[in-house]
Symmetry: C2
Subunit: 452 residues, 2 copies
C-alpha cells in the first residue's frame, strides 16, 4: 500500500504515549506522518489529548493537520490554545486555510490572534481575504501563486520563479501580468522548460487563460474547473488585476461537501452532521424533518376522519387498507421526480421548455402508473375485492402518481427560479406534501366514482 493507515492500534499507542507524556517517542512517531494522517490521528483523540499533541509537535508539523480536521473538533482545540499559539499555526498555513481558521474563531479572538502574527505580508493577505464572502471565488482563493511580468526573459523569469516558488506549495501555472498587475495570460512550467532560455516571456506565454472574478459563486468556480479540467484557476477583480488563485484540491473538497449536503437534504437531515457527531447535534439535524412528517401524518388523520362513515360499508371499507400504499406511491414518485430534476439543475442538463418537460413527465408517470394499476387489479381479483372498488383504487392511484410526479418536477424548478436551493424540495418535504395530497385525491376520487 502506498499510504499509511491510521488504525485503532496506532491510535491506542499514541493515547498511551500521551498519558505517559513520552514526548520523545511521540515526536519520533508523529513528525514523519503526512498532515492528512496526523489530522486523522487528531480526530481520533479527545480534545485534551489533541491539544497536548499540538502544543508538543510545533506548528510546522501540526498546522496543515489542524486545517484538515473536522471543524467541530478544530473549534474545541482552538478553544484550548492561546492567541499566540493560534497565531503560530496560522502563520504556517497558506493564506486561504489561514483565513478560514481566523473566521472560525469567536469575533473577539480574531483581532487578538491577528495582532500576534509577526509576518506583515501574510497578515495583509489574510486581512485582504477576510473581506470576501466565504462561498465566493474570493473566499476560496489563496494569495500564494507565481507570477511574472511579460517583458522578462525566460532566464530572468526562472530566477524570479525560484524566489517566488519557495512560498508556493505547488506551482501549477505561472501567471503573466503587465506592469499594472493585470492578468495577460499564463506560462505552463512545461512550456518554460521546453523554451529557449533567451526568449522573452511575452513571446512564449499563452494569452488565452481561464479565470474567474472574485465575486463569482464557489459552485460556479467548481463547475468551470471540473468542466475544463483545470488544476488551478486565477482570480481577478473588475480591473482585471490578478488577486489570487484557486487550486483543484479545494474544489474537490467543495464538490464532496455539496454532494454530501444534497444527499443529506434528500434524506431529511439538515445541517452538516456525521454518524460520529454528538447525539444532540444529530437530533437537531433530524427532528425538524420528522416533525414535518408528523404534521403531514396528522393532516391525513383529518382527511381520513371525514370518511369514517364508509367503515360501516363492508365493500367500501377496503379503501382504508390502501392508504399506506397510496401514500408510499405518492411519496416515492415525488422523490424520484424531484431527485432527477435537482440533479439535472445541479449538472446544468435541464434545458428545453417547461411545456415539453410537463408532457414528458406525464407520459413517464402514465406508463409507470398503468403498469402498477394492472397489478392492483389482479391483486383485487385475488383477494375477492369488488371489481369496481379495485378499479377505483387502481385508477385513482394512477392519477395520484401523475400528480405526485408533476409536484416533484415543478416544485424544485420553481424554487430554483426563486433563487432557493431546490435540494430542500427532495426527501421529507416532497414526501409529506405528496402523502397528504395523495390520500386526499384517493378518497375524493373514490367518493366521486363509487358515489358514497
Amino acid at each position: 500500500m502506498a499510504t499509511f493507515q491510521i488504525d485503532s492500534i496506532f491510535l491506542d499507542d499514541i493515547k498511551a504515549l500521551i498519558k505517559k507524556k513520552d514526548n520523545t517517542l511521540l515526536k519520533r512517531k508523529l513528525q514523519p506522518v503526512h498532515y492528512a494522517d496526523l489530522g486523522e490521528v487528531i480526530e481520533g483523540l479527545s480534545i485534551e489529548e489533541a491539544t497536548y499533541l499540538i502544543k508538543l509537535l510545533g506548528s510546522d508539523t501540526t498546522a496543515d493537520a489542524l486545517a484538515d480536521v473536522d471543524p467541530d473538533i478544530r473549534e474545541g482545540i482552538l478553544r484550548q490554545l492561546s492567541e499566540k499559539e493560534i497565531a503560530k499555526e496560522v502563520l504556517e498555513l497558506d493564506t486561504d486555510d489561514a483565513t478560514d481558521i481566523i473566521l472560525e474563531l469567536p469575533e473577539e479572538r480574531q483581532e487578538k490572534v491577528m495582532s500576534q502574527i509577526d509576518d506583515d505580508e501574510h497578515l495583509n493577505d489574510i486581512r485582504d481575504l477576510l473581506r470576501y464572502d466565504e462561498n465566493s471565488a474570493g473566499g476560496l482563493m489563496a494569495k500564494e501563486l507565481v507570477k511574472v511580468k511579460e517583458d522578462l526573459s525566460v532566464l530572468k523569469c526562472l530566477n524570479e520563479m525560484r524566489a517566488q516558488a519557495e512560498n508556493v506549495t505547488r506551482v501549477h501555472s505561472i501567471y503573466v501580468v503587465d506592469e499594472k498587475n493585470r492578468l495577460k495570460g499564463r506560462l505552463s512550467l512545461k512550456d518554460l522548460i521546453t523554451a529557449n532560455s533567451r526568449a522573452k516571456v511575452k513571446d512564449i506565454y499563452i494569452p488565452k487563460v481561464d479565470f474567474v472574478t472574485v465575486d463569482q459563486d464557489g459552485d460556479e468556480v467548481a463547475k468551470i474547473m471540473s468542466k475544463y479540467d483545470l488544476d488551478a484557476i486565477p482570480v481577478i477583480n473588475s480591473k482585471k488585476e490578478l488577486l489570487g488563485r484557486i487550486t483543484i484540491d479545494d474544489i474537490v473538497d467543495l464538490i464532496k461537501e455539496e454532494a454530501d449536503k444534497d444527499y443529506q437534504l434528500a434524506a431529511g437531515i439538515s445541517a452538516d452532521v456525521e454518524a460520529d457527531d454528538k447525539i444532540f447535534d444529530l437530533v437537531k439535524a433530524r427532528l425538524p424533518w420528522l416533525f414535518l412528517g408528523l404534521l403531514g401524518g396528522l393532516g391525513s388523520v383529518f382527511i381520513l376522519q371525514d370518511f369514517e362513515a364508509i367503515m360501516e360499508e363492508p365493500k367500501l371499507r377496503n379503501l382504508f387498507f390502501y392508504t399506506p400504499l397510496i401514500a408510499a406511491m405518492a411519496g416515492n414518485v415525488g422523490v424520484q421526480s424531484s431527485a432527477i430534476i435537482v440533479q439535472g439543475i445541479a449538472n446544468d442538463v435541464v434545458k428545453g421548455s417547461l411545456f415539453k418537460r410537463l408532457i414528458k413527465e406525464i407520459g413517464l408517470s402514465l406508463i409507470n402508473g398503468l403498469s402498477l394499476a394492472l397489478v392492483i387489479l389482479v391483486f383485487g381479483q385475488f383477494i375477492n375485492q369488488a371489481f369496481m372498488v379495485s378499479f377505483t383504487i387502481a385508477g385513482s392511484m394512477m392519477l395520484v402518481i401523475v400528480v405526485a410526479a408533476l409536484v416533484g418536477t415543478f416544485v424544485p424548478i420553481v424554487l430554483n427560479k426563486q433563487g432557493i436551493d431546490p435540494a430542500i424540495a427532495t426527501g421529507p418535504f416532497i414526501t409529506t406534501a405528496n402523502d397528504i395530497f395523495g390520500i386526499f385525491l384517493f378518497f375524493y376520487i373514490a367518493k366521486f366514482v363509487l358515489g358514497f
Copy 2:
C-alpha cells in the same frame, strides 16, 4: 466571464450552418472553441448533425470533445463513423480516454478500429490498458507521464523531459525510476527549476512518493488522492514497475459520478439516467423501485385486513386514520438513519463498536420519538380521542421509530460487511421495509395494549 457560454442562440446558429453546409463558417466558429464547450455543442445537436461536425472539423479538434460527451450520445455518433474515422479520433486521445472509447465499441468493431491505428506505441499502450478492470487503478490510468532515470544530471534530465513532455498534456510530477523501471521517487517541477543544473537527479529527488497498485479499486484511489491533496498519482505493479499515472481531473469525474449514483439510489432511481434521457430509459430506472413500493403497500393491505373487525368499534377504528402517519415516520426515520450510515461508510467515519452505535441510535430515536409522541398526545386530546387510544398510538409510534432507526442503521452495515454496496439500502428499499414493519408493529402493539 472567463468562459464561453454555449446558449441556445449559438446552438441554433450552428444548426442553421450545418443545414446550409457552410463549412467555412462552421470551422471558423468551432475550431477555436474549447473541447469541453465543443462537447456541449455536440450534446445539443442531433446525432446526424453531430456526426457531420465531427467529420468536418477533423480529429485534432474533435477527439477530446468526443471523449467528453455523454456516453449515450457518443455511442450514437460512433455508430455513424467508419473504423478508419474512429481510429483517427482515438489516435488523438490520451491512452486512458482512447481505451475507454475502444471499450465502448461493440466487440466486433474493437479489433477493426485498433488495426487502423497507425502508431505502434499508442496502440501497444491501449492494448496494455485494455487488460485492466475499468474500475481499478489500471482502468483509470493513462500511460502518458514524464519519467527520468535516477543517475541523470539535472541538465540531461531537462533535455529528456523536453522530449517526453511533448506527448504529455500536463506534467504534474516527474517520476524517478531505476534501470529496471522501478519507481524510486519523484521530482517536482518546482524542485527541478530551483535546483543547480549540475546536480544529479539522485541528489535532489524525493524518495517518498505516494502510489497506488494497478489492481487497487478506483474508489480507493479517489479517497487517497483527495485525502492527500494529490494532483496525480503513479500506478505500479507488484514488481514496483511504473506503469502509468492517474490525474485528478479523472478523479473529479469519478467523485461526481459516485455522488450522483448514491443520490439516485437514495431516491429510488437505478442506472445512470439524466432528466434529459429518453422516456423508456427513465421508466426502466424508476419502475422497479415503484414496484417494490407497491409490493410493500400490498403487504400492508394484508396486515390491515386482519384488523377489519375493529372498524366496527367507534373507539378503536381511529387507529386506521394513523396508518399513513406511522408509515411516514417509519420510512423517514429509516431513510435518515441509513443515509447517515451510508455516507459515514463512504467517508470512512464509521468507526467504533457496533454496540456503541446501537446504544447511540436507540438514544437518538428515543429523544426524537418522545418529542413526536407528545405531539400525538396533545393532538389526541384536541380531537377528543380516548386517551388510552392516543396513548397507545403515541407509544407504539415511539417503538416504531426506534425499530425503524435500528433497521436503517444495521441493514447498510451488514450489506457493507457482505461486500454489497450499502447505498441500495437507502431510499425505497428501507422505506418499504419500514412501512410494512411499522404498520405491523403498530397494530399488534395496539391489539396487545388495548386488548381487542
